[in-house]
Structures are given as structure tokens and as C-alpha cells.
């Protein structure tokens, strides 16, 4: 019985309550935005996981229509992949210039990133238009429905990333590297690199494996 009474509130109030209940060495994060944005990215990851699962289930249901081997031009996909990979490294350079507080260099690298992203979207739209023109639109087969859903969702993400990028370039031009702009640029950095990670899954799982016999 004496053990129980030692754990009762009366026993605890005798000691320093903060030392009793809180780990003093654990800081509260001063800026939760980056962690919050990371959690958003993880939930976005689950959206893509569902779309990948759909493609994995339906990706071979051609309904006597064209298959991936008939439709995909791997040279175009390779070009697209290199554009996105290059845009990742140029965004990285922009972040390095931000660490050195160089506004003009940061804006230049952001501009290059935006151009590469726009090139990626342009090629993807050309590919989609070409496929739809050939009669291989999303309504042709389950394979094509899941293909357009997955790759289109990724393309939409990149498009919104470019819009965000343009807005941030305007913000940085106007206000410079204030704390808010640094935080926003870091969030977009995570978003942009995350889309490149998703694209690794897309080109491997959809394009390369779709072309295999």
C-alpha cells in the first residue's frame, strides 16, 4: 500500500512538478511548418500509393487495345526524366544561393527550375495529346484509365508546383529573404524533390515495366 501512496498526486506535488512531468531536454519545435508540410507530403504519398495500386491491378487489362509497348516512346520518357532530374538539382542550387543570401542568383536558378518543369509538362502534354489522337484515350481500356489517372495526377502536381514557384519568385523579388519567404522556399523545395521521387516510381513502374513484353 505504501507504493501506491507514493505515486499519488500528493506525493508528486512535493517535488518540482515540471521536473516530474516534463522532459526538460526536449525542445518544443519553434517552427512547426516544415514538419507539417512533411506530413502533408506523406499524405500525398498515400494518394499516389492508391493510384499506383490501381495501375498495378489494371495495368495489364488492355481490352484488346494498345499496350504500353505499343504506345510508350522511351526516348521521350528518358528526356522527360532528365528534365525533371535537372530541375531538382537547379532547385538545390537555388537553395544554396538562398543560404548565401544572394537574391539575384536564387531567382535565376528558380527561373531555370521553372523552365525545366515547364518543359517536362510540355512534353507530357504532347505525349497525352498524341495518345488521345491515336484513339488511346483514358476511355479506351482499364490500363489507359489508370495510366492517365496516375501520370496525370503527377503532372498536375508539377503544374501547381510551377505556379507556386512563380508566386514565390514574385514574393522574393518584392520582399527579399524575409523569414516567411525562406520558409516558403523550403516547403516548395520539399514539394519539388518529392515529385521527383514519385516520378522515379512512375518511370520505373509504368513506362519501363510497361514496355517489357
Amino acid at each position: 500500500m505504501s507504493d501506491v501512496s507514493a505515486l499519488s498526486p500528493q506525493g508528486a506535488t512535493g517535488a518540482n512538478p515540471s521536473a516530474r512531468y516534463y522532459l526538460t531536454r526536449e525542445h518544443h519545435p519553434e517552427n512547426g511548418t516544415l514538419l507539417g508540410f512533411w506530413l502533408y507530403l506523406m499524405s500525398d504519398c498515400l494518394v499516389f500509393a492508391a493510384l499506383f495500386a490501381v495501375y498495378g491491378v489494371l495495368g495489364r487489362s488492355f481490352a484488346a487495345g494498345p499496350s504500353g509497348a505499343d504506345l510508350f516512346d522511351l526516348r521521350l520518357v528518358a528526356l522527360n526524366t532528365s528534365l525533371l532530374l535537372l530541375s531538382s538539382i537547379t532547385y538545390g542550387f537555388a537553395m544554396l544561393e538562398m543560404q548565401r543570401n544572394k537574391v539575384r542568383a536564387t531567382l535565376t536558378w528558380l527561373f531555370v527550375t521553372g523552365l525545366l518543369g515547364a518543359g517536362f509538362i510540355g512534353i507530357e502534354l504532347y505525349e497525352f495529346a498524341h495518345m488521345i489522337h491515336e484513339g488511346a484515350g483514358p476511355q479506351r481500356s482499364a490500363f489507359l484509365s489508370s495510366f492517365f489517372a496516375l501520370v496525370g495526377t503527377h503532372g498536375l502536381h508539377v503544374s501547381f508546383g510551377i505556379i507556386w514557384l512563380i508566386v514565390l519568385m514574385a514574393q522574393v523579388t518584392r520582399h527579399g529573404f524575409i523569414a516567411e519567404n525562406r520558409r516558403r522556399l523550403m516547403c516548395l523545395s520539399m514539394f519539388w524533390h518529392f515529385l521527383d521521387v514519385v516520378w522515379i516510381g512512375v518511370f520505373t513502374f509504368v513506362y519501363l515495366m510497361g514496355t517489357l513484353p
Partner: protein, 137 residues
């Protein structure tokens, strides 16, 4: 330059105590040129090899190619996580890593579960199965 005004902490405090000190506003890790270039070169290599394998028909069996390029994709995702997203167990006191591990587990269950269940369902719903069903007592 007016760029320093917003973050006096950040501009002046980077000195001898830049690790394990959370006094300044950015809890994000410090990116380096070397880190980005390492990640980029590795990514180029890890992207080029799968494309070469598929476009050059390197392996006889498609299933071998599929397994190998999936392996390359997994490695490349880890490379991007480390060198571009600066992932490690320390940032945000480990909460980022915890969220990532949770997501990886859920994604793994979603993908393997869907493929597994739907494969067996397709298999069991084949037209040939219906005749066998009558023989089952």
C-alpha cells in the same frame, strides 16, 4: 542589402555551434553543393542503367529485368531522400523520420495487399473455375 533584416539570428549566429543548436529559425539542415552533386550523379547513374537495360534488351527474361529495375528504383528513392530531401533521424527530433516510416509501411501494405488480393481474385474468377465449382461437394 535589405536581405539581412528579416533574419538577424540566421545571418549572425552561424558559428561554432551550428549543430544541435536550435536557437535560429531554420530547423532545416544545411545543404551543401557537394551533397547535391553527389545525389545528382548517383541519380543519373541509377536512372541511366534501368533505361539502358530496357531499351537494349539486356536480359533474356522480362521478369529479371523487372526485378532489377525495381531494385534500382528503390535505391534511387533512398538517394533522393538522403541527398535532396536531407532526410535523417535527427531533423524535427525524429518526427519526420517517424512519419516517413509509417508512410512506407502503409504504402507497402496498400501496394502488396492490392496486388495480392486482386491477383488471386482474378485467378479464382476465371471462366474455367465455374465448371470446377459444380464438382465441389
Amino acid at each position: 542589402m535589405s536581405t539581412h533584416t528579416g533574419t538577424p539570428d540566421n545571418a549572425t549566429d552561424h558559428g561554432a555551434h551550428d549543430d544541435h543548436h536550435h536557437g535560429h529559425d531554420d530547423s532545416a539542415p544545411h545543404a551543401t553543393f557537394k551533397g547535391y552533386m553527389t545525389g545528382f550523379v548517383l541519380s543519373v547513374i541509377l536512372t541511366a542503367i534501368p533505361f539502358w537495360m530496357v531499351m537494349g534488351n539486356v536480359f533474356e527474361k522480362p521478369s529479371t529485368t523487372a526485378l532489377v529495375i525495381l531494385g534500382f528504383a528503390a535505391v534511387q528513392i533512398v538517394v533522393h531522400m538522403i541527398y535532396f530531401l536531407h532526410m535523417n533521424a535527427k531533423i524535427e527530433h525524429g518526427w519526420s523520420m517517424l512519419a516517413l516510416i509509417f508512410t512506407v509501411v502503409v504504402v507497402g501494405i496498400t501496394l502488396t495487399g492490392s496486388l495480392w488480393v486482386m491477383y488471386h481474385m482474378n485467378h479464382n474468377m476465371m471462366p474455367g473455375m465455374m465448371q470446377d465449382m459444380h464438382k465441389v461437394p
